[in-house]
Symmetry: C2
Subunit: 191 residues, 2 copies
């Protein structure tokens, strides 16, 4: 008996992300997915009941990605500012390296595919920085009169812009610029 190749699901996901990145969900067709993934159109239907399920499972698979990737290199014994910087840069790098995902998620949130609750922002991304903001306030290093959410949005928005402009080649990042960008964020939130 031949076994379903689990890689195929990955190929299909990868192909879909790539195509969506290039032409939006609007431009996505099953035929294109199959071609890009190097298989027959019918094969896609072995792994997914239909297009809707494919899109929804793609979403699920991205959501399930471990959130603690953002905490990589961070330990609470580090001084606050250093810890923040590490996580801040993790976010930036993630956004750059997973740009296709971001594009998909943004379109997914506005698509007719999304049915249920599914809160707008990737909640999973929130937790780590929120916790850190708490700590910063306790240590009197972060403005206490601004609520966590606003501080979070201020940093996240900047990170997103940086990543987007970098990926699209409008404003290319390097070590020095990243350094300065973080410093700007710091100046903004510091007490």
């Amino acid at each position: 008996m031949r076994i379903k190749d689990n890689n195929k699901i990955d190929f299909i996901f990868k192909a879909s992300l790539k195509l969506i990145y290039r032409g939006g969900i609007a431009g996505l067709t099953m035929a294109k997915i199959a071609q890009e993934a190097g298989m027959a159109t019918g094969t896609v239907y072995i792994y997914f009941k239909n297009k809707e399920e494919l899109i929804n499972e793609l979403y699920q698979s991205l959501r399930e990605e471990s959130t603690d990737r953002f905490l990589m290199g961070y330990t609470s014994s580090q001084p606050f500012k250093l810890g923040l910087k590490i996580i801040w840069i993790n976010y930036l790098k993630h956004r750059i390296e997973h740009h296709e995902e971001s594009v998909f998620l943004e379109q997914y949130y506005r698509s007719l595919y999304i049915t249920t609750q599914h809160k707008r922002t990737a909640e999973s991304m929130k937790t780590p920085i929120h916790k850190l903001i708490q700590r910063g306030k306790e240590e009197m290093l972060v403005k206490k009169d601004i609520d966590d959410e606003m501080l979070f949005l201020a940093m996240l928005g900047f990170i997103r812009e940086l990543a987007d402009e970098h990926v699209t080649g409008v404003y290319e990042l390097n070590e020095e610029r990243i350094e300065k960008a973080f410093q700007l964020s710091w100046d903004m939130i510091k007490a």
Copy 2:
């Protein structure tokens, strides 16, 4: 002789924006547009050769919107910080009031409809704040060691997040919050 009703084009544009806002360009069909605009599907074809042209002209019509809306209430005789605040808030309000447009533009930039050059960011939005940043540096009020583009991105990113979260009901804005948000931006860029 019956005259082409120019309003109809507006109706069609409005309908399209509304539908895209709700379901992305992917979910857009000519039938839906016609229904939402209160006319027969065939009528849409009187005003636009086909769907592609419709989308592209919608894009054009949005681009042509006057850029000096962002300068409303601003005069160079005002103190720098006040002027910046006025324009900063203009951006925020614009983003909130024209949220449907933003969603369309973001999807358009990643669609197969966009053919030519068409730089990623709405260039028209850039000019006013860039000019102001220049002035701020001259008056020694804004950090000189950070380039204009980065300062711009930092503010714009925050504004976008605020507007998006407000419109989606995740983080609702009020006078006080807007005040604080601007202050954060200010703390970030000030010399």
